[in-house]
């Protein structure tokens, strides 16, 4: 498989190195010549010291025959341009973009980037899972990001405690489908009464989050 990596920072460097070690054909584009020279010394003659945002250099790098283009620069705008050119000018079957600002995720998806990787979102998710806050946790994004799996930890003061799950006014576009009680997952039934300490698992659109929070968590207490 031929992978074109654009961006020679830490992510791009290690990505290219791993791909080469795995036996894939890989070329790395880095516009900073000094940085490109350093990487070339490390991993060999697979580095092109040019700006991957320019079509002619993408062509020189072999975008016309790339199976995957991974845009992993530290600049979201650059990554978007690289993926769009790869997709629309060079018919690259799969584009992957690093998205630094989570607010840009939806835009990237909307503009046709096949896969987005958000280190910020990943770290944020990890932090949320480790901190016992009265917040909803985002466990995963589904499909193109239009749905997400959410966990709500019912703490004292939650309006959902003592109520039958089916009586909750769950917003449309959202569904509760399970509860983790004492570490054991169980499906939500019509007679399931929610209790303190329960972790309710929901799936829904991101815009349902505010109403879901009011139903399961109550008003935000930390602010």
């Amino acid at each position: 498989m031929f992978v074109l990596v654009v961006g020679g920072g830490k992510v791009g460097y290690y990505l290219a190195k791993e791909l080469i070690d795995s036996g894939h054909e890989c070329v790395l584009m880095e516009k900073d010549r000094a940085r490109a020279d350093t990487i070339r010394d490390e991993i060999g003659s697979v580095v092109i010291a040019q700006d991957g945002c320019e079509g002619k250099y993408l062509r020189e790098a072999g975008a016309n025959r790339a199976d995957i283009v991974a845009a992993v620069t530290g600049d979201d705008e650059d990554n978007l341009v690289i993926c769009q050119m790869s997709k629309h000018h060079f018919d690259v079957p799969r584009t992957i973009a690093r998205v630094n600002n989570p607010k840009n995720e939806r835009l990237f998806r909307h503009l046709g980037v096949d896969e987005i990787i958000s280190p910020t979102r990943m770290i944020l998710g990890s932090i949320e899972q480790d901190i016992p806050v009265h917040e909803l946790l985002h466990l995963a994004a589904l499909g193109e990001g239009e749905l997400e799996i959410i966990e709500a930890h019912l703490q004292p003061g939650s309006p959902a405690i003592g109520r039958v799950a089916t009586d909750l006014r769950v917003p449309s576009g959202c569904s509760l489908f399970g509860v983790i009680r004492n570490g054991a997952p169980t499906p939500l039934r019509s007679d399931t009464i929610l209790a303190e300490g329960d972790k309710v698992i929901a799936i829904g659109r991101p815009d349902c989050e505010v109403e879901l929070r009011q139903q399961l968590i109550g008003e935000q207490q930390d602010q």
């Binding site: 031929f2 054909e25 070329v27 060999g44 003659s45 697979v46 062509r59 020189e60 072999g62 025959r65």
Partner: protein, 152 residues
């Protein structure tokens, strides 16, 4: 009897660029090789850009590449010495020369360096020779052609 002051080698890779330095370095290599009956391998590398897969049939179809090898063989014959020729295609000429030298356990790489100026200014050494000098595991001879008289 061999001249003990001459640097000797058992097997040398002669880097053939297809330029005007090929004839003099092949002739020089042949004269030195005679002293120790060393093996000479002339290597010409066709660089394949990234728009093509590395195994694209380029070098084999190139008449220019074949001509480079023919000229080198003829030059060696004129010196009454045998030169084995190899045609390679690679992403980078310097890396291919070094790899070939390593694979053949060559103890010498001989390459020519034309005298060129970058935009008429500083001497331009290019990228291949510095790469070979930096990465070759064996000894390297670089034969730079003379500076043109008007620039000397």
């Amino acid at each position: 009897m061999a001249d003990s002051s001459a640097p000797q080698f058992r097997r040398a890779v002669v880097a053939l660029s297809g330029g005007r330095t090929d004839r003099p370095i092949v002739a020089l290599a042949a004269e030195v090789a005679k002293l120790s009956h060393a093996e000479l391998v002339g290597v010409h590398v066709v660089e394949i850009d990234w728009t093509l897969p590395l195994d694209a049939d380029v070098a084999g179809r190139s008449e220019d590449a074949q001509r480079v090898l023919d000229i080198a063989e003829a030059t060696a014959e004129a010196s009454r010495y045998r030169l084995e020729t190899v045609l390679l295609q690679a992403r980078d000429v310097g890396a291919a020369i070094v790899d070939e030298a390593s694979e053949r356990s060559a103890d010498m790489i001989i390459c020519g360096l034309p005298f060129r100026r970058r935009f008429g200014g500083d001497f331009a050494i290019g990228g291949t020779v510095p790469y070979i000098l930096k990465n070759a595991p064996c000894a390297v001879w670089v034969v730079r052609e003379a500076m043109p008289k008007e620039q000397a």
